[in-house]
């Protein structure tokens, strides 16, 4: 614990990452109290103050129907973070299990599982998500499903490679010689040794899941109006560049901040947990 703090505080970038993500999470959780105009998250119209450049009390300006952009960003964060949690909560267990089984059992099972993984990995993620959304109707839930489907193979690949190398370790041999079951060896012996790498990847991925989800809604395939979403805000504002620059720049920066923050934390975590690259 002391060592973790030492490594964390030694590097100003880790402190920055932690601060950024901390602020984002706090703001998202307490958006109802922090946002200057909490009711602007919905379908509110205020034509007196529409399309305003940043000025008090609209720090980030207002959008085309007069809603405070800062408030909408805070609520959009709430949705992005939820989406990140749900996607990873679904994709990681699936990917980890597939990777463990393929890496440990080997043989035919390995072949089938890893080729399946390869198929998913070979399709460009956005194309996969877009074609899925083409079949289903665009909504937050379907967006999460689409991102989940394209995300698990990365964990399968990661855990597969880790398992392949852990399998050669003496403690696996020891458990096998004792007569432990395959399930025990996979989930109680090997998996705990993969956790640091998985956690590190999850932290970095959190930012990227948000990024991809934003890309989907940028294309109109994710969260639907009037629910605030960083991607759709950027998309909407892009039509009015460069005059109404605040419509795109602030949501865009908001995405950057969260992705960057999670990346920095991921790097710090990698060092703390001693994960090799």
């Amino acid at each position: 614990m002391k060592r973790a703090l030492f490594i964390l505080l030694r590097n100003p970038l880790s402190v920055l990452g932690l601060t950024l993500v901390g602020l984002v999470v706090l703001a998202a959780v307490f958006a109802d109290y922090v946002a200057p105009f909490p009711d602007h998250k919905g379908a509110v119209v205020d034509f007196l103050n529409f399309n305003k450049a940043p000025e008090w009390p609209y720090l980030f300006g207002t959008d085309l129907v007069g809603r405070d952009i800062l408030s909408r960003i805070l609520f959009a964060y709430r949705i992005s973070l939820t989406l990140g949690v749900v996607v990873l909560a679904l994709a990681v267990p699936v990917g980890v299990t597939v990777g463990l089984i393929a890496g440990y059992i080997g043989g035919r099972t390995e072949f089938v599982l890893m080729r399946l993984t390869d198929v998913f990995l070979s399709i460009p993620p956005l194309v996969l998500a877009m074609s899925m959304m083409g079949l289903l109707e665009p909504s937050l839930t379907n967006g999460m499903m689409a991102v989940t489907v394209m995300w698990w193979p990365w964990y399968a690949r990661l855990v597969y490679n880790l398992t392949r190398s852990e399998r050669e370790e003496g403690y696996v041999l020891a458990a096998e010689v004792i007569g432990a079951s395959r399930l025990h060896v996979m989930f109680r012996e090997i998996l705990p040794n993969c956790v640091p790498s998985i956690l590190t990847k999850m932290t970095i991925d959190f930012g990227f899941v948000i990024l991809i989800a934003s890309s989907l809604s940028f294309l109109g395939l994710g969260v639907q109006p009037p629910t605030p979403d960083l991607g759709s805000m950027v998309a909407e504002g892009a039509k009015y560049l460069p005059d109404s620059w605040w419509l795109t720049v602030f949501p865009g920066l908001a995405i950057l901040v969260v992705v960057f923050g999670f990346n920095l934390i991921g790097d710090a975590l990698r060092e703390i947990l001693g994960v090799e690259q």
Partner: protein, 270 residues
């Protein structure tokens, strides 16, 4: 002495990119109950293959293994896994870094249903004490132990199975000299106390001289000589054995004299 394990004409070939490589070539020997047989050789001698075959990790290509006069099946039931256990060379890798020492030992008790649930915790403590560690080390992580202490834990784990035969695969090669001496002493004491049988695999002839009853010398997958330890060192009959002994870096004048005496006929060969 009744043989505990008989290895009968065992051959093992591996497929190395299309060309079969013979790791063991018609090897036969037996291990008596209660003895310590050293298996000696250099890399590529087949000594590790022997260990893996005895443990059932590899299947012999041909030949058979008899344990207590019964042939060992390809897929071993739990009872046979319990009877033959292993101590590996590298205590750094042989203990799971993410599990406590106690959990590693306890696994053996759980798998073989030794004792009831409450009794197992106490049993782990007893095993640790048997290998010279305090019982409360059970809660420690392997990272908090020294190399020698980790090797003791690995020994305790093997003992937990209540096996009859222990395969010791270079158990002290990764240890410092002082620690090695203590672990060797521990292994010798345990063998006596528990009437265990050891197959001691090593490249270190000086260790062999002091712990084994008999020595089997392997060269390129063949068993070239097997003899009681004192005889083998006093009068090695195979030139390879002689070459091995005379290559040992020794630490005293007495040993150097012994070695030089063995070297003379070797020079005469050339």
């Amino acid at each position: 002495m009744k043989p505990l394990l008989q290895v009968i004409d065992v051959t093992k070939t591996f497929d190395a990119g299309g060309t079969p490589v013979r790791a063991l070539d018609g090897v036969s020997f037996s291990v008596s109950a209660g003895e310590c047989l050293a298996v000696v050789g250099e890399s590529g001698s087949g000594k590790s293959t022997i260990a893996n075959i005895v443990l059932g990790i590899y299947q012999p290509t041909s030949g058979a293994l008899l344990f207590q006069d019964k042939e060992l099946p390809d897929v071993r039931p739990l009872a046979l896994k319990q009877a033959i256990q292993l101590v590996q060379q590298n205590p750094l890798s042989s203990l799971n870094p993410r599990r406590s020492v106690g959990a590693s030992i306890r696994l053996a008790l759980d798998v073989h249903a030794i004792g009831d649930r409450a009794g197992r915790k106490a049993r782990v403590g007893e095993l640790l004490e048997e290998v010279g560690l305090p019982a409360d080390y059970a809660s420690r992580s392997p990272a908090a132990l020294s190399g020698g202490q980790r090797q003791r834990v690995a020994i305790a784990r093997a003992l937990a199975c209540q096996s009859e035969l222990l395969v010791l695969d270079e158990p002290t090669s990764a240890l410092d000299v002082l620690v090695q001496a203590r672990v060797l002493k521990l292994l010798a004491d345990i063998r006596q106390a528990r009437r265990l049988t050891y197959i001691f695999i090593t490249h270190d002839l000086a260790v062999v001289r002091n712990i084994a009853d008999r020595v089997a010398v392997f060269e390129k997958g063949r068993l070239v000589e097997i003899a009681p330890t004192a005889d083998l060192f006093a009068n090695p009959s195979h030139p390879y054995t002689r070459r091995l002994i005379s290559a040992v870096p020794v630490t005293s004048r007495r040993e150097a004299e012994l070695r030089d005496r063995l070297q003379e006929p070797l020079d005469a060969d050339l």
